[in-house]
């Protein structure tokens, strides 16, 4: 199966890197790597809606919450497979989380499709808040107390491998969809909806597909988050979480997968990297520096770190230029 060639190669490479992290770094850095992988999934999936389809969603955290709570509830209450196969059960739960979030994505996508730009942003923001408040009031999900002691993986390496598996599934799904006619459909909606409709593209259908696919992976990101923090409550999925996802997409470059991944790394690592500064200055300036960095990047490099290019394009550009000179 030629089709599985490069996904398997990249999975092997990622797992190798995992071995290095397992032994090279302490648990703190390892936890950070796991949070980076959750943010990667969030950024890549939102990039499909905000980056490729040009729709403006501010409710991504809502889908993440649905995924997280489904997996948490399932892992705590159901156990139809022996604990030794926990990785398999968690994989099935992650798919369930994704499907549930995708259903929510469908329900959010439908009504908000007549809306454009800021109005769509408001409706998606509204849905995010409605989901959060609904979770707050569901006692069987722990309400404000949240769900604690969510079973995770026994070793860092298992968690890491699980995350890498999902990141690659997400990456190759979106990469291949974007290289297909559906991908071109998304791009046409971003470029000019009226022209797309006249050229035979069902723009509504495209937007709903983008929402459903993107919320599926946000649900999976939520499932990973639940396993890695072992405790979730509604206040982990606020409007700021959605804004964080949008920041990653814009910072990385709208419509660039490698951009989203790079931005996910920076957005997760930067605040932690700034902690030592706190020892020098005594006060915690991390968020102040983070927000200033945000403003500077938007002014100095509006199209984001990668612009619309992928790392492969940059590689080809620099390799060709160095080869020529």
């Amino acid at each position: 199966m030629r089709a599985l060639k490069n996904p398997l190669i990249s999975l092997a490479a990622a797992l190798l890197f995992g071995v290095a992290v397992q032994f090279g770094f302490n648990e703190y850095i390892q936890l950070l790597v796991l949070f980076v992988s959750v943010n990667c999934l969030m950024a890549m999936s939102l990039n499909l809606v905000n980056g490729y389809t040009g729709q403006f969603s501010l409710g991504h955290a809502g889908f993440m919450a649905i995924g997280a709570y489904f997996t948490a509830y399932a892992s705590l209450h159901w156990s139809f497979l022996p604990p030794s196969l926990s990785a398999l059960t968690f994989f099935i739960y992650a798919i369930g989380s994704g499907l549930l979030a995708a259903l929510a994505g469908f329900l959010v996508g439908l009504p908000s499709l007549r809306l454009k730009g800021d109005y769509l942003a408001i409706v998606t923001l509204g849905f995010g808040e409605i989901i959060r408040v609904a979770l707050l009031n569901m006692d069987f999900l722990g309400g404000p107390r949240g769900l604690a002691n969510i079973p995770g993986f026994d070793s860092f390496y298992m968690s890491y491998a699980f995350a890498m598996l999902w990141i690659l599934i997400c990456f190759f799904t979106i990469w291949r969809v974007m290289k297909s006619s559906y991908g071109r459909g998304f791009l046409s909606v971003r470029e000019d909806e009226i022209a797309a409709e006249a050229t035979g593209i069902n723009t509504t259908g495209m937007k709903v597909r983008a929402f459903v696919l993107s919320s599926f992976f946000a649900g999976v990101a939520g499932a990973l988050f639940a396993h890695y923090t072992n405790f979730i409550n509604p206040s982990s999925f606020t409007f700021l979480q959605s804004v964080n996802a949008v920041i990653m997409v814009v910072l990385g470059g709208m419509g660039s997968m490698s951009g989203s991944i790079a931005a996910a790394i920076i957005v997760t690592v930067l605040p932690e990297a700034l902690r030592p500064l706190q020892d020098l200055t005594g006060i915690d300036l991390r968020m102040v520096i983070y927000s200033l960095a945000l403003i500077l990047v938007m002014i100095l490099r509006p199209k984001g770190i990668f612009g619309e290019l992928e790392i492969t394009d940059i590689w080809r550009k620099y390799v060709r230029r160095s080869a020529r000179s």
Partner: protein, 258 residues
């Protein structure tokens, strides 16, 4: 089956009190090159938008091959076989020339999500076929050398041609051109006439043309419909239109009788 391809039956468009188009009726035969002319604000583009589903007519309906297009979204109408270009060019500027054309072929795609993910044979072959078809179309209009350039980098005349190629890629039965010659100099207009002639005989397409350039319209149209203030005031061959009193009045105003 009568040879009428596209028929407007008493179509009316009312914005609040204003009747932009008032029960206009005309028929376009298969293979015909029809023209739609009239002074500015006569309602030409509004008729165009009703034919292509951008506006739903307040009264009356549009028939394609005897089947009504009432209530259909623009993309459904495009699938039925009506393709169009826009008055001010609406290309997918950020995408390449080839991608612009490939997007128009989306309606012929028969592979699903699974085929895409697993890169099945069906997916690969369909993609290759679509690309060949698109390149062939580009070649006919000698645009294939620019296939991988962004659409926005093309000069104006070629952008207009690309828009026509994109419309052709949907395998339409009829193509509606909205002021294609607008902003074109003499030689570019001449090039356009050749393009339109090529379309008709290579794709045996029916064409409906909105245009102000009388030389172009009178030159190639077989049947012309004239609108004024949303009402059809004349229809017939170019010669008939040229000396119809009502048309002259509409365009040049009434003669001052001293």
């Amino acid at each position: 089956m009568s040879d009428v391809l596209l028929e407007a039956k008493k179509i009316t468009m009312q914005f609040g009190g204003l009747k932009a188009v008032d029960s206009v009726e005309f028929q376009i035969k298969k293979g015909q090159l029809a023209g739609l002319i009239g002074p500015n604000g006569a309602g030409k583009t509004t008729v165009f938008n009703m034919l292509t589903g951008v506006y739903q007519p307040t009264h009356g309906e549009v028939m394609l091959e005897g089947k009504s297009l009432k209530g259909l979204r623009p993309y459904q109408i495009s699938h039925r076989g009506i393709a169009r270009t826009f008055q001010n060019i609406r290309l997918f500027k950020g995408l390449t020339v080839l991608e612009n054309v490939l997007i128009a072929t989306h309606q012929h795609v028969n592979y699903g999500l699974m085929d895409t993910l697993l890169q099945t044979r069906k997916f690969i072959e369909t993609e290759k076929a679509l690309e060949e078809k698109a390149m062939a179309l580009l070649e006919i209009f000698s645009l294939q050398s620019k296939a991988h350039e962004p659409a926005s980098s093309l000069p104006y005349g070629q952008q207009r041609k690309l828009e026509i190629v994109r419309a052709l890629a949907t395998d339409p039965k009829i193509i509606l051109l909205d002021e294609p010659a607008a902003g074109m100099n003499h030689s570019e207009t001449h090039g356009l006439m050749e393009t339109i002639a090529k379309i008709r005989e290579q794709f045996n397409l029916t064409v409906l043309l909105i245009e102000h350039d009388m030389k172009l319209v009178m030159g190639i149209c077989e049947n012309i419909v004239v609108l004024d203030h949303g009402v059809k005031i004349e229809e017939g061959s170019p010669k008939h239109i040229q000396n119809s009193k009502r048309v002259i009045e509409a365009y040049l105003g009434v003669e001052e009788t001293l």
